[in-house]
């Protein structure tokens, strides 16, 4: 077996006295989809944000594609990287936020072309061609000259996914991508994510959509209180949970 694309090793993080992550171990193989589920405040989003160094890890380390994220190993210690090096690592990791965070002053097309032009050095024409293909995939080619304020939540999130994919990432992070959406718009975003799964994209997804976790994920990790309480296949964790904490959470979610 090849080395996993993402290796999370003994990651700890605290805000003052509050331990948000208490030693997390998790691996994501290339092409796998891992869903993080659990109650809010359980550390799921924080863990996800550590993977692209939006949050600093206090102890332990995260490797993506064999490289420690945000730190350099030297003289038996981890040295924090210069921000220019962190930027290079982040460019290979796509991220989709709960609140979409589309650039409000740019059109849909400009949102998707901005990264490739400014960071990957694509010509404007190449970037536009790539953006059009991606917008077509997410069904929003006709919205290319709209501004984010003219889009519904579901449309915004699909543009955000296209924007992340335009950087041709090796890994996609989803931070509760459907939690801010009206219920009838969730399906559009999930179907775009399912397409990505079928194309073999490696994904780490924080979600409350148990249906998506059940039929799209290769493994599901239940997080609560800063720890991974249970980790296994969707059938194991969602169908036959072993721990009381998982059971009570699942009964409340499905109720």
């Amino acid at each position: 077996m090849t080395a996993p694309l993402v290796e999370i090793m003994g990651v700890r993080k605290s805000y003052g006295d509050l331990d948000v992550l208490k030693g997390i171990d998790l691996e994501v193989q290339e092409g796998q989809v891992v869903c993080l589920i659990g109650p809010s405040g359980g550390g799921k989003s924080t863990l996800l944000r550590c993977v692209n160094h939006l949050e600093r890890v206090d102890q332990g380390a995260i490797k993506v594609a064999g490289e420690v994220v945000g730190y350099r190993w030297q003289n038996n210690s981890l040295h924090e990287m210069r921000s220019s090096q962190v930027c290079k690592q982040r460019a290979k990791i796509g991220m989709v936020f709960q609140q979409f965070n589309l650039f409000a002053h740019k059109t849909v097309l400009q949102n998707v072309t901005m990264g490739p032009i400014k960071l990957l050095g694509l010509s404007k024409d190449e970037a536009i061609e790539r953006a059009r293909t991606l917008l077509d995939h997410v069904g929003l080619l006709d919205k290319q000259s709209a501004y984010p304020s003219q889009l519904s939540g579901g449309q915004s999130q699909r543009v955000a996914i296209a924007r992340a994919l335009a950087m041709e990432p090796r890994l996609m992070l989803f931070d509760e991508p459907t939690s801010a959406l009206d219920p009838e718009l969730v399906g559009d975003v999930l179907s775009v994510m399912r397409d990505l799964v079928s194309q073999g994209m490696t994904m780490l997804v924080v979600t409350h959509e148990m249906g998506f976790a059940r039929d799209a994920a290769d493994s599901v990790a239940f997080m609560a209180g800063g720890e991974i309480v249970e980790h296994g296949t969707p059938e194991q964790v969602l169908g036959n949970p072993q721990r009381e904490r998982t059971r009570s959470f699942l009964s409340r979610v499905s109720a």
């Binding site: 921000s83 409000a104 501004y147």
Partner: protein
Amino acid sequence: MSVQAESPSRQELETASVVPLRHPWRWVSAAIITLLVVMIAYTLVANERFEWPTVARYLFSRPIIDGLLLTIQLTVIATVASLILGTMLALMRTSANPILRLSAAAYIWIFRSVPLLVQLILFYNISALFPTINIGLPFGIGPQFAFGEVNAIITPMVAAILAFSLNESAYTAETVRGGLLSVDKGQIEAGRAMGFSEGKIVWLVVLPQALRVFIPPFGNQVVNLLKMTSLVSVIALADLLYSAQIIYSRTFETIPLLIVASIWYLILVSAMSYGQSLLEARFAQRGNRVGKATKRSGPTTDTSRFFALKTGAVQVQATSEKDER
């Protein structure tokens, strides 16, 4: 009450015409204001002490135009200097370095607390505090590279430029900071997650969005600055107002010359307000549908609604407005 007693039939309700609420007090207040405006207009024409021919004679006279140019020059220099220094101060105030943060806050505190007039006189008299200026290493160690008499360097114009630029920077810093803070943190995070450097995030994501919030208060500030430059008359710098004062102290045509100055200030501020509205339109949040709809319905709707002129007209406009939304 007979009106309430007979309840209308469904058919009557469907076909009935609608009588909008009348607003008699709007007519009364409008009449009073109109009367006042007419009275003011009458006195402007009828009162010969305004001496309009004298106003016309001086409006384009050499000393007035020279004063006007000096006023514009001072405003432009102080505005540009305050944009540069103010942006630096705003970035310092949001910096992670506590020394930078504190020193910027102290600067803003001092320059906003001491009255502008006091600052102006202080800079004019700065030679009393520092008679000579040496450029070299601090505390007089080693060789001095340049040496000068402060009295010769600080002309009234230099004192005015220093006072207005440094004072205005303190205000611009706060306006810029307000603009920076108005940008959602999620925008910065999205930029980081994509791999943009902090500098590129400021330049490509934060500043363009901050400008929209920055322009209206900054426009206000520049209008204020323009009028405040008239303070330089206390240090005998011949700006627009002081040029007018020089003339009327000789000819005693006080009122006409103050009117000449006022007319020029009105023209300058109007031009600036027009420029500001162009800038605002340029940096408006594009694709904001609500904003466009209000603009399109325009002042006609407001006036006709104000007086509730015709039932039909109001109804039509009300529906067309709904359609736009």
